[in-house]
Symmetry: C2
Subunit: 348 residues, 2 copies
């Protein structure tokens, strides 16, 4: 695949782009000619009160959110709701290291925070669609980080929130894990401090990065039951190459590094001088905190500890034997659980 | 530190060596001039019935087993028992890649199996000490693998067994984890396919290897409670450098790779044509299976599944917030629990 071909309308569309112009960043930089990729499903009601915002996770784009979470009869039903999927900055469709021209592209792409995504998304929903209040913000993993950021920062704009498998304040353990992902990429001599000619040059780093996901992204039970057989793989090694390496190989290392840096630093407490309880105390959204039962880096206990600080929230554990990758929805029971929980939340 | 200086009597002694001569290996190779490092504590009784064998874990030597597990008044009391700590092959004191002369040293060191360690240890205890039956075999992690191998292979020689934080049959998840450890080392260009001039040349790989341990060897709770403060570190980064990197930096990459390869393939089921239940069914030792409550790669559930196949065994979970590194015994409560469980086992 030619460099950049992965991040295309063919593979990830259809999507639109929203022009942010020169966009000032939380860390002090400026993203020039910034744009947010997004897709919508369904129709905005006349009262503009049926909008659902879906941010994206690390390495994913809006496409997988559409495929796994949206459909008629589902909780995220385009026949009832106006669903806006917003690609996070750095994901390859929105402004990202690989699609930003020199001198700002590649490893010189500015530092992006979860807060920048949410500020950009706020402009998208208000300026493009005139939405002043979202019926629901729901996202998984880094999408959960964005969901928490929305609920804390714009409490009057978020009626309901459903952070799935993610934190309001990233933990030091998770910080270290995401750091090893970055290190798998930057340790490849072909990475060349980010100045590789072609993302495929860095394939060894991308493969190592994939192997770390194989350990932390799934869980012991997934492998013990050989759940990969149900995905069409014939051996453990076949799964490692065909699923894990195959999934990450076409991606751009600088894009992944941009997102990993952002992920490591997700923390709503910075809106309250470092006081997590005070930050979460601002939330007005009815919130269902939805950890995955076998998640190795957003473990249930840590999600529950945050939920305990969230006024009027409820903890709803989603059972999966796929660890964090339960988010991919390969289990029919996953969809049933998530839909049931989100439908209940939407009915409140 | 000069190359090899880490594996010294100064740092890891006093220890003796037992000469195995030319030692034929399970995988078909031959380890020439093989030797096993060991240390003893206490006195062998006239009836030779008070011997305890303690094998070692990945990257450790007998020294840490002595420091953490042995002492007057402890379960492993040298005033009551004759305790033999046997260094595993590849650990740097016993025959290992770094101390084996050309052409067999370094990356050409032959493949070693857990079964080779146990066969060598059997020669040590029978030939050197005339011990025909061990009162207890106890070890953690790879030491637990050796403990299981002992109990399955020589059921009449093992009266009691205590595998702490380890498997009889390694899981695919753990196989993948140990694989990432090896990859962290072999991906360093300075590793040079194992032909580095000095182990310190491979320090970047050793540091990355240490970072992976930081994620999988400890656990979220350890970091959340900043338990590293009690170890004299002042920040997360200070702990990562001072403890994790500092611990692994002086080690020999080929030694670590030898042990990781062995660890990945630990499996008593090969003694029963792949039938784990049949293999464990041979065990005559009274066995306490002792997983650590927060272990991320030898999780309690997987240890319990093996224990369920072990006739007359009991599951004794040891609580720790240090994940797998609970084995290092930095918590006073760890010693109390382990001593209490082992004393009970020794009293049966």
């Amino acid at each position: 695949m030619p460099a950049g071909a992965y991040y295309s309308q063919d593979l990830h569309g259809p999507y639109e782009t929203f022009d942010l112009g020169d966009f000032d960043l939380e860390d002090g930089g400026r993203l020039r000619g910034a744009r947010l990729a997004y897709a919508t499903h369904g129709r905005l009601s006349a009262a503009r009160d049926n909008a659902i915002l879906v941010p994206t996770w690390f390495s994913g784009t809006g496409k997988i959110m559409e495929q796994v979470y949206i459909g008629p009869g589902r909780a995220l039903d385009p026949e009832k709701y106006f669903i806006v999927i917003a690609d996070q900055i750095g994901d390859g469709l929105s402004s990202s290291p690989h699609n930003t021209p020199a001198p700002w592209g590649g490893p010189r792409f500015p530092r992006i925070r979860i807060g920048d995504d949410v500020a950009a998304q706020r402009r998208l929903v208000t300026e493009q669609f005139g939405i002043e209040r979202l019926a629901l913000v729901v996202g998984g993993s880094m999408g959960a980080q964005q969901t928490y950021e929305w609920a804390v920062r714009f409490p009057d704009m978020v009626a309901r929130a459903a952070p799935i498998a993610g934190f309001a304040q990233n933990t030091p353990h998770d910080f270290l894990f995401a750091g090893t992902l970055s290190e798998a990429l930057t340790s490849d001599p072909a990475w060349k401090n980010g100045w590789y000619a072609d993302q495929a040059d860095v394939h060894e780093g991308l493969r190592r990065h994939a192997h770390l996901w194989g350990v932390m992204g799934l869980c012991p039970e997934f492998y013990k039951r050989e759940r990969w057989r149900g995905l069409g793989f014939v051996s453990l090694d076949d799964f490692v190459v065909g699923f894990l390496e195959g999934f990450f190989l076409p991606m751009d290392p600088n894009n992944l590094l941009c997102m990993a840096w952002k992920w490591q630093r997700g923390d709503v407490a910075r809106h309250a001088g470092g006081d997590l309880a005070a930050a979460l105390g601002r939330v007005k959204a009815k919130t269902f905190v939805m950890p995955l039962s076998t998640d190795m880096f957003f473990p249930v206990a840590d999600c529950a500890a945050e939920q305990a600080l969230l006024p009027g929230s409820e903890l709803r554990v989603v059972n999966t034997i796929c660890g964090h990758f339960g988010l991919f929805g390969i289990e029919p029971e996953y969809h049933e659980q998530v839909d049931s929980i989100l439908k209940e939340l939407l009915a409140t």
